[in-house]
């Protein structure tokens, strides 16, 4: 956790969602909450994975948070996590993965609970309150 800049809680944060509106919304709310200094938006989980791989040796550029949507075409959230799990601990221990979804499917919820990589599950849409809670939790 980087506390160099007191304005922003965290330095680097990624949002992975195929819906451009949701990405826009996420950016808005995160900026509003001064949650993170840098926000990277990915509409393709594949692109996110590629970048993660490159940053293996540059831990300072790794995101502290990854907000991950569940329902995405080509590769959904869980598939992303399977690939993400293959990364070395140097990456995984640096990031906190939060799952975002508007899904009500209990199967999805169960899957998230059983996956140790996901720290929390949040419902869309993001809100000030949600982010506030997160800030407190992961101080």
């Amino acid at each position: 956790m980087n506390t160099t800049n007191s304005n922003f809680q965290f330095k680097n944060l990624w949002v992975i969602d195929d819906n451009e509106i949701d990405l826009y919304l996420a950016q808005m709310f995160i900026e509003e909450a001064s949650f993170a200094e840098e926000i990277s938006l990915f509409n393709s989980p594949l692109k996110a994975l590629e970048l993660l791989k490159c940053l293996e040796n540059k831990p300072e550029q790794l995101p502290q948070f990854i907000f991950l949507d569940i329902r995405m075409p080509v590769m959904d959230g869980f598939e992303f996590l399977t690939e993400y799990d293959k990364f070395p601990d140097s990456i995984k221990l640096n990031c906190i993965v939060i799952m975002l979804s508007s899904s009500l499917d209990p199967n999805d919820q169960r899957k998230i609970e059983n996956n140790s990589l996901v720290k929390q599950f949040l419902s869309k849409p993001l809100s000030e309150e949600t982010l506030g809670r997160l800030k407190k939790e992961f101080k």
Binding site: D18, I21, M28, P73, V74, S101, N107, P125, L126
Partner: protein, 879 residues
Amino acid sequence: MIAEKISKPIRILHVEDNRPDSDLVRFILKKANINVKILVVEDRKEFIDSLYHFNPDIILSDHTLPSFNSIEVIRILKDMKIDIPVILITGTVSEEFAVLIMKEGASDYLLKDRLERLPIAITQVLEKWEINKDVESIKYALDVSSIVAITDAAGLVISVNQNFCVQSKFAREELIGKDLRMLNSGEHTKNFMRNLWETITNGNLWHGEIKNKAKDGTFYWLDTMITPSLKNGKSYQYIAISTDITERKIAEQEKNSLQTSLEKSLNEIYTFDPITLQFTYGNNGALLNLGYSEKELYALTPLDIKPEHTLATFLELTSPLVNNVKAKIIFFTNHQRKNGSIYPVEVHLQLMLTGNKSQFLAVVLDITERKKAEQELVDSEKKFRLLSRQLDLQNNRLVNAQSVAKTGSWETKIATLDMQWSEETFNIFGLDPKEFNPTHSGFLNLVHPDDRKKVDAAFCGSIGTNTTNSIEHKIYTKSGEEKIVEERWYLEYDHDDKPLKAIGTCQDITSRKKAEIALQYVTERLQLATKAARAGVWDLDLAQDKLIWDDVMFAIYNLNTNDFSGTGQAWSEHLHPEDLEQTNQDLLDAIQGIREFDCTFRIIWKDKSVRYIKGNAIVERDTEGKAVRIIGTNRDITKEKNAEEILELQNLELKKTNSELDKFVYSVSHDLRAPLTSMLGVIDISLKRTHEDQTAERLNMLKKSVNKLDGFILDILNYSRNSRLELKKEKINLKELIDDVFNNLKYIGGNIRQVEFRCKVDEQLSVYSDKIRLNIVLNNLISNAIRYQNNENSNPFVEVQAETTNSETHIRITDNGIGIEKKFRTKIFDMFYKVSDVSFGSGLGLYLVKESLNKLEGSIKVQSVLGKGTSFLIVIPNN
């Protein structure tokens, strides 16, 4: 000898007629001091008489007398075979006369005027005569006592005596001049003969025994002395003098063989001293059996080899011999060998007197063998007694067996038709052997009247056969009880093939027959029952692996009776290979008593069709609990199984459908909510950031979301309609329909460019199908083609082609869009599957297309090259 003669007066017979001459002779002899007694005779008669009465030693004769002359004297002597020397006294004599007279046999002659020589002449003549007589006697003695042969230096016979001829059986003529080797018997070695010759040719005497062969081939032995006669140191003749020792030789050989036999005799012969008791002789047999050497034996006494005797007992034993009460005693005892082993003996003991000494002579017979034989005799006697007891036992057993088996035996003499029955046969017929004398006709009377004819016929018909005959028939016992018996019999013939007797058995099978009938009844009931249940019954004899099936089994397995070999192995060949192991295991478990046999398995018929079989069985065990037999059923449950399977499938489908439904509901709800949540978000931002003038963009975003929601709801509706609505087939003009679709999609809105529509469909072309669904298909495919256009392509297009055959219509929709990656090509038809990052569409589109085509009984295929374009081919039936 001569000296003796001289002391005795010489008796001289003087044949002289002239007195003065005879006186002169007397005078001369007196003067010579020779003791003589002279008788003078003048004529023949006197001469002859005097020969007998006077017994002269010598005869003096004047040559010429009136009636007589000296030649006559000599002749007379010869004729009378009187052997007396004659001296002739004569006046004058010519040389020829002298020679003649000597030749005639005169010993000497004297001239009358030289009578002084007379005494010397007489003495000389007499001497010579004596010597001659001696020689003659010796020769005679030799001749009569011995066998003589004289050969020359070469071994050729010069002369042989009479004995030689007698012995060799050859005539003298056959021997003279022949080589004596003709008598060779072959007995002697070459060395022997060579030695003989060398000895005698060297002038030495040879003495030995020679075996010769007589003329008739018989053999004889001679003890021969050969004396060479030497002249100038060289042998010029050989004189062989022999005595016949044939008998002696034979006796010797016999003696030798006897001696050898005695020596070799395995009977032990001992002599021992009566005082010291020490052994003085033990023959070979004795030494062999005892194992002692001769030296060792002589140091022992009989007590040393008789473990059962002490000195006292032995002396007592031998006392009758010592005391001359008995000449010989025989006793039995045991002897001990050097190695300690003991053997039984019979001892014959005598006390002998040989010369001055008396010796005990013992002949010992090793009676080990005899004892063995005796024991064997006892043993065999025992065996014999045992055997005869066994025979008795067997006889009893036979009687018992017959009674237990309810089988009696009988014999019928063909000639008389008299019968002999065993005890059990009487029993079966309920008759008393004392009261009933069995005959063939008597027997027939006991046979049930219904069967009488057939029984008699069978019996008569069997005469002449060589096989065992049998017949079952009813009988009435004496008490009127009806029984069923089985008779088995065969015929015996004499060597003329005339039938002698029938020998047979008769078995009471009444109870067996009753049981058979009962069994028959039960079996029939069982068969009816199983037939009703359509269950096949099988019966497996475990020991023989013999498997019996009833008809239903064969039907179940779809086999003919000759297709099935009746073994457990044969049955397992019809099992489905996947079920073989388990079924066999179940069977084994049942045999071991672990669980009952209740198994469902598949079998494969000849025509390869598969049937489901349910097998149940009960295991029959012997008194030790070992499984001996399994009886079971098989039922064909294929129908039920199939029904079960269908049910299961339906259940699965139902589950699937249910879970699909669940998935569908969640997806739908998510997809419905997603745009809403986005909208909420935008609205929130707008409300918060009223200072920012991004109203237009935000409102646009809202619109997008709303549209998305709307589109989705429509899709759902379409989906529902497709599922539920019945097909409504009508004639559709394809070009019109496609044009409509194109028009509706022209202004799809958003960032999407317009694409070129190319419709390559014949105006006349019509399709007979459901319009709504066809519309859905075309709408979705074309809208995808528009949406998934390649932004780098300057000229995006969508092209539709169509052609019909009699039964089908082919429609091809091609675009030059972004294409579909190979690995996703099958997934695209999945419900809610979105293939691209570009997030428009609900993911239902192609799923709907597929479902619609299914309803239309059509099909769809996709071809695509990533980055280049995609082509969908739809085939719908056209009727």
